[in-house]
């Protein structure tokens, strides 16, 4: 931990997710960005260096070899690398926030289970679609008897980077697992579309829930409350449709990006990164409170 009362933080991965995370960390009051490590001397990384960010090109090894230990490491690489990254960082004691759909660590959706953050060293931010749907599905499933859930995510082609394209299988599986775990509903299906539309389609998540006791009034109230909570850490979160017909609730949400370096349609990047920052800041608050008690 820094003398400044901020946690030292590094970002592993210099793709769309990693670079936006770096920008968001720079704005945080309690996170201090110490390193962004990519695997190649990519144009993105060189641009980041010109903006004054500390960068390295050795991937995970750059973090292991760094002179300082990091309090928090964000893994914004590829699902198939995450377990190895977590193992290599275990000795450093860093808290790892996983942005890949690896399903290795404890799943965290800040609007639902913030309290689990402090007790795990490796936390998973699920998926962008998972961050958008879980708080809403969780709220409805707690109040109603739900037989099945289906979630359809659509993201604009320019907002889906190479690792995400290679990880579509993991995306589907991890999103389904998260919905089951958070709602207790077994019959769950997740689908994802990548839209080639120009101008680009805004990130969108549509949810279907089947349950005999669903009513329009109840579902609307639950969705409104859950959306208000999400908006405390994802400003561009909005509900576009919320209806109940024939025992099926249909809720669709759109997320626009509020990050200055992201195009407005890239809400998929914004929501998972905002959730990750929120999780890291919760962890920081816990650490700093503890440190405060120790010194007092």
């Amino acid at each position: 931990m820094q003398a400044t009362g901020r946690l030292s933080v590094s970002v592993l991965g210099a793709g769309l997710i990693g670079m936006d995370l770096a920008t968001k960390i720079m704005r945080s009051d309690c996170l201090d960005l110490r390193l962004v490590a990519g695997r190649h001397d990519a144009a993105e990384l060189r641009r980041a260096a010109r903006r004054g960010l500390p960068v390295a090109t050795g991937g995970i090894q750059s973090l292991v070899d760094a002179e300082e230990d990091f309090d928090v490491v964000f893994d914004a690489t590829n699902a198939s690398f995450h377990a190895e990254h977590a193992e290599k960082l275990a000795a450093s004691g860093a808290m790892i926030v996983d942005l890949t759909p690896s399903r290795v660590g404890q799943m965290i959706v800040p609007g639902v289970n913030r309290e689990d953050i402090g007790s795990h060293r490796d936390i998973s931010m699920v998926t962008c679609g998972g961050q958008a749907c879980v708080p809403i599905l969780h709220a409805i499933a707690r109040a109603h008897e739900i037989d099945c859930v289906e979630v359809v995510t659509t993201a604009a082609t320019l907002s889906v980077g190479r690792a995400s394209r290679l990880n579509l299988d993991e995306y589907v599986q991890t999103t389904q697992d998260a919905i089951r775990w958070f709602t207790g509903v077994e019959d769950v299906k997740a689908l994802v579309n990548i839209s080639p539309a120009r101008p680009a389609a805004t990130f969108r998540v549509a949810m279907y829930l089947r349950g005999r006791d669903l009513t329009t009034d109840s579902v609307r109230a639950l969705v409104t409350r859950a959306a208000d909570e999400i908006r405390t850490y994802v400003k561009g979160f909005g509900v576009s449709v919320c209806t109940v017909n024939d025992s099926t609730a249909f809720v669709s949400v759109e997320v626009t990006s509020s990050g200055e370096r992201l195009p407005h349609y890239a809400g998929n990047l914004d929501i998972i990164n905002s959730a990750a920052i929120q999780a890291a800041e919760c962890y920081a608050a816990g650490r700093l409170a503890l440190a405060g008690r120790e010194t007092a």
């Binding site: 589907v172 579309n193 990548i194 080639p196 279907y208 409104t224 509900v239 209806t243 249909f250």
Partner: protein, 357 residues
């Protein structure tokens, strides 16, 4: 081109017919085909020596869903019936990355499917990299096919097809998912793809503007080696290229399909009798859908939702086209219908509004 010149150009070149009647046709009957219907048509197509027959939910493996409709039969049931019934025709399945996963492909391989098609939207070939690579490693014939191809230029499609071949595709192709193309559009696209790859190139037509057979002929003349066609045109929206029309037309033009005409006509009669309440027609809504460039499979959900919300389905299609929706985005239909109703009634959409829904 005169008929003689066309025959000379074709010069007995083989064209492989790929028959997705039992997959694309599912869109026309809400994915409700049953076991006896599958058996009846599979047997007939097999007897006619149709080279490849495809089965599945309308959107392929694992696509039975609330979004598009739940299938009456599971993937396992459909593949099992097809495997038992087919003796000469190859068995094909379709898979969309993001809708199905490698696990679903593995499951299909347990039924010894002969050909797996991996489908992505027109500019998104890169999402097929893993699945095509997996099938290459398994030694299974795998084709990469592009959906909604009216949304991309011939050069873009050629580039995407070259990418698919790089990932391991042993055939590539384009679907006119919206029935939007005219023959010259097809000629340009197939020509550009042929110049970019050295594997067979496929064309899959829809008949919204009455062009499916003409477009398929244009594709063959531009060098396509695989053409999709369905019995009675059984398929989404206005239907697909009509199989029992396309085959004799190709033969007259000098292409060889290897299909027995009388048995093909028998198969089409069985399809007409057993699979569908009525053959697909180009109704007014289908024309609008084709003009708007919207996926043909949207027809039934658009009609359902437009009726429920009291709006004109033609307006829904044009607005969906303006938003450039792609197959798989059926969830936008409700939003568009509610917005149209609100615009008409002069208020904000019921059940919508940012934040306070």
């Amino acid at each position: 081109m005169s008929q003689e010149a066309a025959r000379d150009a074709a010069a007995g070149r083989p064209v492989q017919i790929h028959d997705p009647t039992l997959r694309d046709g599912q869109h026309a009957v809400r994915h409700s085909l049953g076991a006896e219907q599958l058996r009846a048509y599979l047997k007939a197509a097999d007897a006619a020596a149709v080279p490849v027959v495809e089965v599945g939910h309308g959107n392929g493996l694992a696509a039975s869903s609330l979004q598009v409709g739940r299938a009456r039969l599971s993937d396992d049931e459909m593949m099992s019936i097809a495997r038992e019934t087919l003796t000469t025709s190859k068995l094909g399945v379709l898979m969309f990355p993001g809708w199905a996963t490698t696990q679903d492909i593995k499951n299909a391989l347990a039924y010894e499917v002969d050909l797996v098609r991996i489908a992505t939207h027109c500019t998104e070939a890169s999402v097929a990299e893993r699945h095509l690579g997996f099938l290459r490693d398994e030694g299974v014939e795998a084709h990469g096919i592009l959906l909604m191809t009216h949304m991309a230029s011939p050069d873009q499609l050629a580039e995407e097809c070259a990418r698919l071949v790089g990932y391991g595709a042993t055939g590539v192709g384009i679907l006119d998912s919206s029935g939007h193309f005219l023959p010259s559009d097809v000629t340009a696209r197939i020509g550009a793809i042929r110049a970019a790859v050295d594997v067979p190139v496929m064309f899959h037509g829809h008949n919204n503007l009455g062009m499916a057979v003409a477009n398929s002929v244009a594709a063959a003349q531009a060098g396509a080696g695989i053409l999709d066609a369905c019995a009675r045109g059984f398929g989404a929206g206005a239907g697909n290229t009509q199989l029992e029309v396309l085959v004799p037309v190709l033969e007259r033009l000098g292409f060889r399909t290897g299909i027995d005409l009388y048995r093909l006509l028998d198969a089409a009669d069985i399809a007409g009798r057993e699979l569908m309440p009525a053959p697909p027609t180009i109704d007014s809504v289908s024309i609008v859908s084709g003009l708007a460039g919207v996926f043909s499979g949207f027809k039934k959900p658009v009609l359902d939702i437009a009726a429920r919300e009291g709006v004109d389905p033609r307006d829904v299609f044009f607005e969906l086209g303006r938003r450039q929706v792609v197959a798989g985005q059926e969830d936008l239909i409700v939003e568009v219908a509610l917005a149209l109703r609100a615009a008409r009634d002069g208020g904000s959409p019921a059940g919508s509004g940012t934040g306070s829904c």
